[in-house]
Amino acid sequence: MTTPLLVRFVSEARDLLQAAATCLLRLEKSPDDEAAINEVFRAVHTLKGSVGLFDFPAFTKLVHAGEDLLSAVRAGQLALSSELVDLLLDALDQVSAWVDSIDAIGALPDGADGVSRDITARLRTALPQDLEAGAAVVPLRAEILSSIEWLPAVPAAERLAALRAALSGADILALEYLPAEDCFFSGEDPAALFRQVPGLLALAMEPRRDWPAAEALDPYCCLLRFRALTTASRAEIEHLFRYVIEQVALTAVAPHLLAVAETGLSPAVASILDGQRVILELPAGDDLPSRLTSVARTVENVLHAAGQETTDWREAVRATETSGDTAPLLAVLARLLDARPEVKVDAAAKGLAAAEGSVLSSPDLRHASRVLKVDQAKIDSLMNLIGELVVSKNSLPFLARRAEEVYGSREMSREIKDLFAVVDRLAQEMQAAIMAVRMLPVSEVFERFPRLVRDIARKLGKRIDLVIEGEDTAADKTIVEMLGDPLLHIIRNALDHGIETPDEREAQGKPVEARVLLKAFQEGDQVVIEVSDDGRGIDPVKIRAAAVAKGVIDAERAAGLTDQDAVNLVFLPGFSTAGQVSDLSGRGVGMDVVVSTVEKANGSVSLSSVKGEGTTVRLSLPLSMAVTRVMMVEAGGGMLFGIPMDHIAETVRIPRDSIRHIKQSEAFVLRDTIVPLLRLDTLLGLERNVWFGDPTEEDAVLVVRIGNTLTGLVVDHFREGMDIILKPFDGILAGLPNYSGTALLGDGRVLLVLNLKELL
């Protein structure tokens, strides 16, 4: 059932829906944003076009109704109210649900027809009355062709009438109908069809080839060709000509084409002449005479072909030949090209500018971006392969050492090392390249928030302006995708708890419209996302009280906390300040979920809040998850372990006699702070190295930071740091909490990477 075409449709439809929704919201804010209305119209129009390829009538009808509504909005016949935006967004939601269904089962869900009918009816009732009946579809500007070659043949009076209609805002449609020669036998009367065409501006009935002699004429062989200009909508024409639609060509006519036709020069001729003008305007040089000859001949031929008077031109050519000055030629060309009857010069100027403006901004002139859509699995497998390459590359230094130590060839060793340097560089570049492929702008996630904020704000009766900054900031796909839920939670929290109602805000002298800033930026190798609001902020006193009441901490500790620390209590599991469970947030899922999700991605969350002024939540995440930097340590007599570099604060060597024993525990003093000391061997249940008291011997201590506490970890030896591709445990090993995964070392050994948070 699922065809490649359908798969492409689904992905395209999702993009279009997203674009449409985004622009609708933009439009609601600034209803005069012409680019936005064009864009949303275009998105829906394209969607209608693509769904037409498949047999989803309910889908098509709904999208069509939406398009009609948008087209009325675009034409200025309908003001875009919030209700209308709601209606359209609902429709888009429905369509997007259908797209999901198409993706899943290749068909629309049951009952789609009914749903479509309901929503379509609602959309239609929103249409202005006169449009409703005709279901007018204003043709897309993008479809306007640059030349309709028969346009100049339309008698001037009719063309002028059409131009006038176009300038007063009507869309002109050019219609060419070439009936089949045997059409009379199937009971057709082509001329009768035109009786029913509304707003007929011009109609030409001509033989499509020269008439045969009177004796040879076969009255039952239709030789006529019909050409017409009309203000009727495309839908009306399509309906009228529905039985012969394949014999009809419909083209929207831009007003300036009607005007250009006034010169008597077809656009093609005009463009040739214009080209010649450009040649003439080139700076004079040695080749001027030959250039003149060629231009003179070309223009004369063109004029001749176009049935234009050539005497002026010949005179000008003669004048130029004697004087060597191209001015007379240019004057004649300018007259030919620019000669336009008065009507269009002033009246058309406006329409012309408007038409050209919209033509220029139309998407079809945009160069198709050279984007390749690739299945993520392919990128992932490429990523894995590069990971393997990095690992095998890491085995070269081992080989070099063997060459030297085992085979005694220092030369060989050096050559291998040189080679390693090259492979290393290439592998790193490759890795960087593939990382870049996986990079996504955070706008992927941010995009859905304007809609969300708008809906929530309306529900809560608050007025909120969501400002998004730095949406181009890119991070690894996994990171960006993972951001969605935590951000959703933070923003909901801000809207629900942080932002006051308009009345409260007014009473406090704040602007009635609250501001929520969603900002992304890069900081070192981290991507930082900040959500700040200018709401009521978090009251440390309340937080302390709530924390004690919920038994999260005891009263004594609560009192000892600084205000900042108290605010951070919201991150503790089981903490939720919401007095009552609301629809939005406070569903018993606290900020601790945000923290755990972000920490899973090796990120961190911090929160700062000033009472009465607002709250800022800051998420800091690595740009990429693919490569983890670890430090290798040796413990348990030669076993290697990896420790994520993020956790390591410093490495120190502590003389054994300066280790303090506090009951069973050990500790040492690091720059006037007592740091608890743990032994990795013991923690992992490995046999501890026995040592005999030489008090001056030093222990290698890795000072690690977990959360905000420092801990010393005694290891046997420090080894080098390295970049690894961390493979999490799966299957039967997945339950081992002490390790976050494994990596393969160059010499084939497996490096266990410790999950310090669980271990300590």
């Binding site: 009936p179 001329a191 009786r195 045969p212 009255p219 039952y220 239709c222 006529l224």
Partner: protein, 81 residues
């Protein structure tokens, strides 16, 4: 029959159907100089219309019906007479 053929004139009245195309053609072929009266014609089927367009006979009276008057007149005017 909407078509009445006299010695010098072909009169078309009311609705000229597809069946009238052949008689019309034959009449005009028989008397190439015949003039055509369209005054009371309300619709001409495309087939008959085509005959008129191809042969461009002289027209003695123009149709009163709006559509024909508007769009047919200029087409027939250009030729004969």
């Amino acid at each position: 029959m909407p078509i009445h053929v006299s010695k010098t004139e072909v009169t078309i009245k009311g609705t000229c159907t597809v069946e009238d195309a052949l008689p019309l053609l034959e009449a005009l072929q028989a008397t190439p100089a015949a003039r055509v009266a369209l005054m009371h014609c309300t619709h001409i089927h495309t087939a008959s219309l085509q005959v008129l367009l191809a042969l461009q006979p002289s027209i003695v009276s123009w149709p009163e019906e709006a559509f024909l008057a508007r769009w047919l007149t200029p087409l027939l005017n250009q030729g004969g007479r």
